[in-house]
Chain length 102, copies 2
């Protein structure tokens, strides 16, 4: 069974690492417990929509960017996308580039 | 605050209606209570990843398709996408009428 929370956790962690932030920094800014955020990142806990919004905000990343990446990774897992899983490195850069284009 | 569960609920409902299924049919096939599925569709309850997978399966729709649509709709809400996936018929008609007036 493909579990959405596992992909959400991986994307949140990847975005955090791309931005060079620690778990502690993001947890503090999002007002969530460090241990809880760690469990969310490992796909062990479901994050409520409010917490997702809060963590995305703490990562300075729109929730839509995170959820689109989740959808793309799920598509790869489900064999519905032939795009290789090389998106994480470019995820934030692409978003920043998109913003700069506006 | 943009809430992911509201978009998930809307997408699940839209997919169900597109497929001409009733709440009762989908709830039964997904082994979830009808009232619960109704609350999820209205964005009032967070669905666990297991329930999401179950409902997607009951809708014969890959979870990646649902989550990509969720991401796309969130992007529109966040103003990060100016092109909806499908233009409403009347909007297209109005655009054509505007063009003809010029």
């Amino acid at each position: 069974m493909v579990l959405v929370r596992q992909e959400i956790g991986e994307v949140l962690r990847d975005v955090r690492l791309q931005k060079g932030r620690t778990l502690r920094q993001v947890a503090s800014r999002a007002s969530v417990a460090l241990g809880y955020l760690s469990e969310v990142e490992r796909g062990q806990k479901e994050a409520s929509s409010e917490i997702l919004a809060s963590v995305a905000d703490a990562l300075d990343t729109p929730i839509s960017v995170i959820m689109r990446e989740v959808g793309d990774r799920l598509a790869v897992i489900e064999g519905l996308s032939v795009v290789p899983d090389t998106l994480p490195d470019d995820l934030v850069a692409q978003f920043d580039a998109d913003l700069a284009m506006r």
